[in-house]
Each structure stands twice: as C-alpha cells, then as structure tokens.
C-alpha cells in the first residue's frame, strides 16, 4: 500500500488541499465515526500547527516530509497542555505538564497530533473494552473488538482518520490490534525509542511504536522517534533504517527463517489460522528460503511469566495514583482511607485485578516461588532467543491463536484474555523488534535486537509473495 505520509506530503505541496482543511476533514471524520476511537480531539493544537504549515506553503517555503501530516497518539502519552487520561476515570481531567519525547520528536518534524486515542485503561487489556470512554469498535466489523490495548490507534489508521498513529506495546498492545484491523504495527527493540512521557505499565517491556498502512510509513516514523534520550536511561543509539531495504533482494543461501513448533502445540489454536500459517511457510519455502522448525517454551509459561512480571510492575507503577497530587480524590476518614477509596472507586475491575495480583507476587510467601522464578524464566527466555538468532535470521509466527473476538466475549473470562496473548508476550520479554503484517489474521516477523531493517525488508518480501 502507498505511503500515507507521501500522499499527504504530495497533496500539500501540489496545493491540492490546504493543511487546515485536511486537518478539519480528519477531525470531522473522527468525531462522526461510530468506532469510538477518540478520548480527546486536539482541535486547537492541530489547527494552529496546520495554519503554520499553510503559511509556509503559501510563501513557497520548503516543507519537511512529516510537516502537516495528521497523526494520532494513544491516550497514555503526555502532550503539554492537553488531557492525558490513560482511558481511566482517575485521570479523566488530568492535563499533561510536559510532552513525551517520542511525540515531541514527531511534532518537531512537523507532524500534527489530532487525537488522543481510546485504549484499554493504562494498557490493561487486549480488546480496548476496559476503558472509561466506552469500548472501541473494530474498523472492519463493528461487532468485533478493536484489539488492545492500542485499539483506538489501530482503528484510526485502518479507517484513514490518521495517516499514522503511535501506540504503546507492553505484551502485544500494538501488534494484536494491528492484526485485528489489518494494518502494520511495529514493536521496536526495547530501548530504541524513549518511553519518557508515556504512562508506565510494565517498565521492563513497555515500548513506543508506530501503526501505519504501509511499511514505508513504519520506517519513516520509527526513524523519526528513535534515539538516545537523557530522560530515559534505557534508551540506546540506533542506526536509521535505510530506504534501500525495500529494493534489496531477500533470498540467498545464507538466509534462514525459523518458526516455533510449540506455538502450534497449543490445542486452542484456531485451525484456520494454523492452516494459513502453514500455507505461508510453504510459499516461502518455494521461493528457495530455508525454513527451520524451532523448539521453544510452552505458551502457558510465556503468558504466566509475562503476567507475573507485568502485574508486579504495574502494582508498583500505579502506586503513585492515589488522588494526592493529581487525579480524582475521594475523601474518607484520613489520608489512608482517602487513598484506598480513591483507588477503589477510580480503577476498573481489570486494573484492580492486576494491581492485586502484582501486590501478591511481591509479598512474603509469593515473592520467591513466583516473582523471582518468573525473573529467572525471563532470563532463560532471553538466553533461548540469543541462541535461536545464532541459528536463524528471523522468526515468523501468527499474532494470536484465535480470530478477532466479538464485543463483550473477553470481559467475561479474564484468563482467556490473558491466554490470547500467547504469541506476542514472548517477543516482549525478549525485547525484540517484532512487526505485525496484515496478511490473513496477521503475521509477526521478529529479528534479533536492533535489526528492525531486516524485519521490514522481509515483510516487504512477504507482501510480494502472499
């Protein structure tokens, strides 16, 4: 699919549309949509930036590639002077005092934020139904969930309401909704993009990443946001992904692709998804590429390891939400009671379930047998990835074991929702770059750390043979 960024850029410089009209059209489309993707629409910020772009074009000044391009950001990012709720009741009136580094970089390049996007509350969910703002509806069928937690972001891109959106991925929150709405979504290498200014869910796997309709847009946006940031000590230097990757040949004798056999030992996998994946492997083999079957951890171990660590970290990260310095405060009988009532009334059932679970695993009697063991398993999982990527260049896998659920189904069974993350959480624990491609029910392409270029290059090849 053609680059949306390029399309907007060309339309603006050809003066086919003014930037102000373009932004007004996008905002109107979001406002009138029944998909419920927007928590807050950024009329004032967007219009002011659009008028500045129009002024440059009128004066025949050169504009940058991202200048005037409308984008959305998941409502967990801070943007100075604008609401940032995390889709929670707790922070429904909270105004950001500063701007997240990744968002600032995009705005410095001229991209225009138009909407704070609906998502699962604090990233706690896989359907975008766990939100104070009401559930997000899938872009392709409104009876289905949008996926989550970055559901509003994926739907906005799929519907063309934004040229691209910035999601957040802790255990699959970019990749899974991207698959459910048939767009691309990249979880970059952990540390490639700064997390400063994103509401923390599980800090050791939280990643900022783009959702877009084309691989070229994923490349442009990833490059624009990457780099070391003094405000996030986990960030690393990275090499920009060159445009030439889309011209290079993929297949040669040394290239080897892997897939995890254990993903298909899961008895709950949908047969259609399994057959589509096997069909794709067969097509890849016919192109002369070596495909190797790899052993891996049982998917239940991956899911449990991820959730133990994520719940422990979210219990710690959300301890700051107590209605003292910001957020809704409900008065009780003294400070401890104020805090407990404010948290009990303002968190959703799912968020409370995760905080309580995290508190349990960090407490006496649980910490060694569960939390420390999960940390040990994390190290084993990372070691296994290191070993696998010495044997293969890339790993491919489905995104989810089952098709997109209908609205309301997942809320009834939290365990089923956790298990639906079986194919995404492992790569989060590994900190590896993983891209969802919108082929069939979605395909993930994963490389070793810092190898986003190879991921995009192979995705481009895969697109040509599907």
């Amino acid at each position: 699919m053609e680059s949306e960024i390029l399309k907007v850029h060309n339309a603006l410089i050809a003066k086919n549309i003014s930037c102000a009209d373009l932004i007004a059209d996008k905002i109107s489309a979001i406002r009138n949509s029944s998909n419920n993707t927007a928590n807050f629409i950024l009329d004032d910020v967007a219009l002011e930036m659009a008028l500045a772009v129009d002024s440059k074009i009128k004066n025949d000044e050169e504009i940058g590639f991202l200048e005037g391009v409308p984008f959305g950001l998941k409502d967990v990012y801070l943007l100075q002077g604008c609401n940032a709720s995390g889709s929670s009741k707790f922070l429904k009136d909270y105004i950001s005092p500063y701007t997240a580094t990744a968002i600032k970089k995009l705005m410095d390049a001229g991209a225009i934020p138009v909407v704070k996007e609906n998502c699962d509350c604090f990233g706690h969910g896989s359907t975008s139904e766990n939100t104070f703002f009401g559930p997000v509806k899938n872009a392709l069928d409104e009876n289905l969930v949008a996926g989550g937690s970055s559901g509003g972001s994926a739907v906005n891109v799929a519907k063309g309401f934004t040229a691209f959106s910035i999601g957040g991925d802790t255990g699959g929150s970019i990749r899974q909704p991207a698959a459910f709405n048939k767009v691309y979504g990249l979880k970059p290498t952990y540390g490639r993009i700064s997390r400063f200014g994103i509401m923390a869910y599980a800090s050791s796997t939280d990643c900022v990443g783009p959702i877009a309709k084309s691989l070229e847009d994923i490349r442009i946006i990833t490059n624009a946001m990457s780099g070391k940031d003094i405000h996030d000590s986990t960030t690393t230097d990275s090499i920009p992904i060159p445009e030439s990757i889309f011209c290079d040949k993929i297949a040669d004798n040394e290239f080897c692709l892997g897939y995890y056999k254990s993903f298909f030992a899961n008895e709950n996998i949908d047969q259609g998804i399994k057959q589509n994946f096997e069909g794709m492997i067969s097509k890849i083999r016919k192109k002369g590429i070596t495909v190797k079957e790899l052993e891996f951890f049982d998917t239940n171990i991956l899911v449990s390891t991820y959730y133990v660590l994520a719940m422990a970290e979210t219990a710690s990260n959300l301890a700051r939400l107590d209605g003292t310095t910001y957020g809704e405060r409900i008065l009780g009988e003294g400070i401890k009671d104020d805090r407990a009532i404010s948290r009990s009334e303002n968190f959703t059932e799912e968020t409370k379930r995760r905080i309580v679970g995290g508190t349990q695993v960090l407490s006496h009697g649980y910490s060694h047998g569960i939390y420390t063991k999960a940390r040990f398993l994390l190290r084993e999982i990372q070691r296994k990835f290191q070993s696998d990527f010495s044997e293969v260049n890339l790993v491919i896998s489905p995104v989810t074991p089952n098709p997109t659920p209908r609205m309301g189904e997942s809320l009834k069974d939290p365990l089923l929702m956790y298990l639906s993350d079986a194919y995404t959480v492992g790569f989060s624990l590994g900190g590896l770059p993983t891209l969802t491609c919108p082929f069939g029910q979605g395909v993930q392409v994963t490389a070793d750390k810092n190898n986003e270029a190879l991921v995009l290059k192979f995705a481009h090849f895969l697109k040509s043979i599907i």
Binding site: Q80, G81, Y94, I95, P97, Y98, S204, I230, S233, N300, I301, S304, T305, Y307, V308, M311, A315, A319, D322, T324, T325, Y326, G327, E328, R329, L331, G334, I335, K336, D338, A340, R343, S344, F347, K352, R353, I355, V356, G357, T359, Q360, V361, S363, H364, Y366, H368, G369, I370, T372, K373, R375, F376, L377, L378, R379, Q382, D413, P414, L415, G431
Partner: protein, 91 residues
C-alpha cells in the same frame, strides 16, 4: 501490630481479594522448572542492566512556569497555590 499486612492494605484497594484467573497463572509458574533453587540465582539480575555511565546526573532541573502552572492545576484540592492534603500524622 501484626507483621502480616492484608492484601487490602498492601494494595490500598478496599476489599482486595486474590483472583482465580490470576492464581491460575501463578500455578503455571509454581510448577515450571521444579529444580529451581531456593537461593536467588545471580543471573536474574543480568536483565535490563543500565551501566552507571548511562545514568543521568542527579541534579535538580527547574520546571518552566508553564509546567509549574499545569502541575498546580492538576492538584485535586488547592488553596492559595498550595496542595491541600489530609492530615498526615494520625493518632
């Protein structure tokens, strides 16, 4: 005072109770790797290491007036520009 604090107090959530769904996830970890040592293995600390030279200097950074005003505007209760809190020292 009892050394064992209930979950409700630790999580600061009224009537906090363990979830059956979450307990099932814990059970998977409990039964995985039965040889797991009682001693905490050193290698668990090898994950996500940040070297000292990569840490930023511990200095106070002055916020802009705009930031300060936004922070004040987020106070749940405010009086004369100060944050109002419940009495901290309790009987």
């Amino acid at each position: 005072m009892s050394k064992i604090m209930p979950l409700e107090v630790l999580a600061s959530i009224k009537n906090a109770k363990p979830s059956k769904s979450v307990e099932e996830l814990f059970d998977v970890i409990k039964t995985a790797f039965p040889d797991f040592s009682k001693d905490i293995p050193e290698e668990i600390n090898e994950v996500n290491i940040i070297t000292v030279e990569n840490l930023r200097n511990d200095v106070v950074a002055e916020s802009t007036n705009k930031e300060k005003n936004l922070i004040r505007n987020n106070f749940p209760r405010e009086k004369n520009g100060f944050l109002v809190v419940s009495k901290v020292i309790e009987g």
